[in-house]
Amino acid sequence: MPEISGGDTAWVLVSAALVLLMTPALGFFYGGMVRHKNVVSLILQTFIIVGVISVSWVLWGYSLAFGPDKWGIIGGLDWVGLRGVGMEAGPYSDTIPHQAFMIFQAMFAIITPALIVGAFAERIKFKTLLIFTVLWSTFVYSPIAHWVWGVGGWLGNYGALDFAGGTVVHISSGVAALAAILVMRKRLGFGRDAMEPHNVPFIVLGAALLWFGWFGFNAGSSLAADGLAANAFVVTNTAAAMGALTWMTMTWCLGGRPSAVGAASGAVAGLVAITPAAGFVGPVSAILIGLGAGAFCYLACRLRAKLKLDDSLDVWGVHGVGGTWGAIATGLFATAAIGGTDGLFYGNTSQLWTQLAAVGVTWAFSFTMTIIILKVLDWTVGLTVNEEEENRGLDLSQHGEAGYRL
């Protein structure tokens, strides 16, 4: 039996810390993009999701997602309250403590619902958000995580490749965002008032910390400090860079000026797209994946605006579309030399179909479940604040706190 490896454990624990940081970073990325009267609300929403899911994951979420498999579709309740999840190695890695794997995965479970808050920013009721988060994490995130990554999960068995969460994290949340805005009313003044970012430095701060944390997200998913981790690290950085360059160039060519918000958004788009591919593709492919991410996500956001959908912070455009592109790109650019499986461009057509199937299933499941959850919440606690509260801003009306007193 291999022993716990200090190097691998150090790497996975550091990676978990890095991914933890991503959720508050997202709070700044989102918080900078809204109007100043809603900055506290966005930052608190993401921050408190760290609180909520950290606890629910320990209590039941981890068991549902990674616990002993039931019929390929869900984990059992054997590990509820982390019973049996100890300081020795577990079924997911021989060289790191089971708890290290658990907490690394906790960070993914945390950030996924946090991504969604960008969709209904500036109008959701805080209480509703909390309930939504618990329900969505339990009934959408845990199942999908089990399908793709759980021992015995059917999508994983089927051969779908998702190194670090293109389907599990990004498509699931991006599509939930799309579902949410179809159910929920728009912001007052949407389409008429300029709702420009109130703090561009915060946006870039958030994007930079996301980039930093994403090394843990992707390279940590190797679960070992090895060559595969190094490869994932390299392609992550490369795709992020290319995404930033591409989106910024698009704003330059189509909008007249190179935009900082565009560069930041493009970096995130590139990071999203490389996520499923990070353990399967090389650096030159990463350049193309980042290029595609910057272009497709930018165009998706424009389309969204054309369709007059109020996805406040373009969660669908970035995570839904970026995740989908990444999952497909994995089927295109994967090479057996890196991750053991070839994609279309290396002669293996079937992988692309597998990827498309996994994408389709994730879209359908997340979309349907999100609609159901939100409809129930609409009939019970209500979804959005009232007009007076929205005009004053959520910071004062929901939290009694002004963002800044300068």
């Binding site: 389409g191 300029a194 420009e196 969204r304 605006a305 373009d314």
Partner: protein
């Protein structure tokens, strides 16, 4: 005495301020405002390429109180320094001030200016 309120382009504040000082008008206040005029607003592209008309644009308001006799001179200085001949150059409003007091001394009247 008169109060002159000049609403001008932010990028011209330094020039106007210096010109006023050169003309002997040291005292003034500056405050940032957003304003709308007869200009129709600037068409602006949002993050996702959507078009907005932003009608409220950032302007700077200068306030200075001057003796009646100096009013025209001050206004002319401001116009000369603030004018770019483009829409959005701003407006100047003049209104009467009946009394001025210097806090430090309690002095009143023109001499307190």
């Amino acid at each position: 005495m008169n109060k002159i309120e000049a609403i001008i382009r932010p990028e011209r504040v330094d020039k106007v301020k210096d010109a006023l000082a050169a003309g002997g008008f040291a005292g003034l206040n500056v405050v940032n405002v957003v304003g709308r005029g007869t200009q129709k607003g600037v068409v602006y592209q949002g993050r996702a390429g959507e078009k907005y008309t932003v009608d409220m644009l950032p302007k700077t308001k200068l306030e200075l109180v001057v003796a009646d006799a100096d009013t025209d001179k001050a206004v002319d200085i401001i116009i000369a320094a603030a004018r770019t001949d483009n829409i959005g150059d701003g407006k100047i409003f003049i209104s009467p001030v009946t009394q001025v007091v210097r806090v430090r001394t309690g002095d009143r009247g023109d001499g307190a200016l």
